[in-house]
């Protein structure tokens, strides 16, 4: 029995979410193989071969995999899948896009967003925005799974020495093409892999006020996030969103500023190790999950926090 993991990468580097999916694969037992489907992706495949616990890297390096379009990548995975008991991908926007297409082509029911593994057939996954956890059992011959990255501690990115095997590409399916991307550029760490996250909510009042959070983030080496309310109000772009309909994060420290704590937001951050809430409403539900709560006006508290951090 071997497990195939679909690597998340940008052709140059392996994205951290891959390391959580490899960790989940490791829990299933058997050899873990990692598929790097990209274009000019030799350096990503090289990095993949160093990941702890990976026995083999399958490298499909061809133009049609440049932007990991689901229509092109799915047939490749389907072809490889017959040799595996489980096919896993991190539940990133890429994994969520590609894996159900793979599952349908294999005629198997996918198990989405698993947060824990009971055994090779049985998994725990959140439903109803994380308000309930379902334990589900699959009898499918090949289990197609997306992995909630916060459920599994990342394996080390180095220490492994996997062989790299080239696999042949399947060609462009001619269904879709990449036009362009507007990616948020930031010097700060990515939300889903940052060890500290500071998020703002509706209490921030305007996108113009987010720089006060950014000042604190830069002192802590933190990523900046937001609640859905702040995104809906147009303060910040949607890729800042932490919550059930946004990103799920579990940093060492999560600082919620001016966030009331709607269920859908809590679903995206309640696995954080330490939670700090700053809110002027002492009744805000966020305080019920916070390790440290501060009832204060954020427009005083955040600048004060910034200057307090300068003191050693």
């Amino acid at each position: 029995m071997s497990v195939l993991v679909i690597a998340e990468h940008d052709n140059a580097e392996i994205k951290p979410a891959t390391l959580n999916a490899v960790a989940a694969a490791g829990e299933l037992g058997g050899d873990v193989h990692l598929l790097v489907a990209g274009n000019g992706s030799a350096s990503a495949a090289e990095a993949a071969s160093k990941i702890s616990g990976v026995a083999k890297v399958l490298s499909a390096d061809s133009a049609e995999y440049e932007n990991t379009l689901a229509e092109n990548v799915a047939p490749l995975i389907v072809d490889l899948a017959s040799g595996y008991s489980h096919v896993l991908a991190p539940a990133t926007s890429n994994g969520k896009n590609i894996m159900p297409r793979v599952a349908a082509l294999l005629d198997v029911m996918q198990i989405s967003d698993i947060a824990a593994i009971i055994d090779g057939d049985t998994f725990v996954r959140p439903i109803y925005a994380g308000n309930a956890m379902a334990t589900v059992k699959s009898a499918e011959a090949i289990k197609v799974i997306t992995v909630r990255t916060t459920g599994f501690e990342a394996v080390a990115a180095d220490g492994g020495a996997a062989v790299i095997e080239a696999v042949s590409a399947k060609g462009d399916q001619g269904l879709s093409s990449y036009v362009g991307a507007e990616l948020s550029s930031s010097e700060r760490p990515e939300l889903t892999s940052a060890s500290i996250v500071i998020s703002g909510g509706r209490g921030m009042q305007s996108g113009d006020n987010f720089p006060i959070l950014e000042a604190v983030a830069d002192k802590l080496g933190a990523a900046v996030g937001a609640s859905r309310a702040a995104v809906d109000a147009g303060f910040v772009p949607n890729d800042y969103q932490v919550g059930q309909t946004g990103k799920v994060v579990a940093p060492d420290l999560y600082v919620a500023v001016g966030i009331s704590g709607a269920i859908q937001h809590l679903a995206g951050m309640k696995d954080s190790k330490v939670i700090v809430a700053i809110n002027k409403d002492e009744e805000a539900p966020i305080f019920q999950v916070a390790d440290y709560g501060l009832v204060a006006d954020l427009f005083n508290a955040v600048p004060e926090l910034s200057s307090e951090l300068d003191k050693s």
Partner: protein, 249 residues
């Protein structure tokens, strides 16, 4: 062009979900049910395409118990033209629903299917991608913008790092994300008019699909709760605690 819009009946998004004492599922008795919010966005997008003259008919489809007719009526009141109800009591899984939708697509021949990116009950996020795979069509998931131009469609997608735009060959499946649009409320005259719009009813067997679930749910439990911690007096105390007690900064 015809557009097919699947709509799912789910627990209303404002309802606090409660797990049943016997752990067999969540409490659905006497709970307010509504259209899945992402499906409302899909219906709205289809209506806007129709208003822009790109679409001439919108067919709303729902799979589930008799009460799904209400969900279809909601779509009709918003502006869909007719409904198809696949009557099925019991759990519905994305793979089976995708197969039923494929059978309906084969019959109805729409140029576009707009599906909610996920249902807020099972949170699977699969049906649109699966339907696209079964049809051998292109897919534009997590759409925040779509533009139909001749026999191609440009879809702007919400991806982890920002936005990505892809061009899809038609026919296509698009799954809607939150920022695609803000759904309208149905007006009273439109609610009255919707009562006269036709809804066909079929069974999964008529579509050649076995709806039996492939996954067995062993139990459903409350998530682990977090205990509330301590309140701190001021920012200085907070920083002190984070440095010396939690040791996270």
């Amino acid at each position: 062009m015809k557009v097919l819009v699947p709509v799912k009946r789910v627990i209303d998004y404002n309802v606090k979900v409660r797990v049943k004492a016997d752990k067999s599922g969540v409490e659905l008795a006497n709970v307010k049910m509504s259209m899945n919010p992402f499906d409302e966005i899909s219906v709205e997008e289809a209506i806007r395409l129709k208003e822009a003259g790109k679409v001439d008919e919108i067919v709303a489809v729902s799979v589930g118990p008799q009460q799904c007719q209400e969900t279809i009526r909601t779509a009709l009141a918003m502006g869909a033209d007719r409904g198809i109800h696949v009557l099925h009591d019991g759990d519905t899984e994305p793979l089976a629903v995708a197969k039923m939708l494929k059978a309906l697509v084969d019959k109805e021949a729409p140029g576009l299917v707009i599906v909610g990116k996920q249902a807020i009950d099972d949170d699977c996020n699969q049906t649109g991608q699966m339907l696209s795979a079964l049809l051998g069509w292109s897919q534009g998931t997590f759409a925040s913008k779509l533009e139909v131009e001749g026999d191609a469609i440009h879809v702007t997608r919400e991806v982890d790092g920002g936005l990505q735009t892809v061009q899809l060959k038609m026919p296509a499946v698009v799954t809607s994300d939150l920022r695609l649009n803000e759904p309208r409320y149905a007006s009273l005259p439109n609610i009255m008019k919707a009562k006269k719009k036709p809804i066909d009813q079929v069974a999964p067997g008529d579509l050649g699909v076995d709806p039996a679930p492939r996954l067995e749910t062993l139990k459903v439990e409350e998530p682990a709760t977090r205990d509330a911690g301590q309140m701190v007096e001021d920012v200085a105390a907070l920083v002190e605690k984070l440095r010396n007690e939690a040791k996270v900064i």
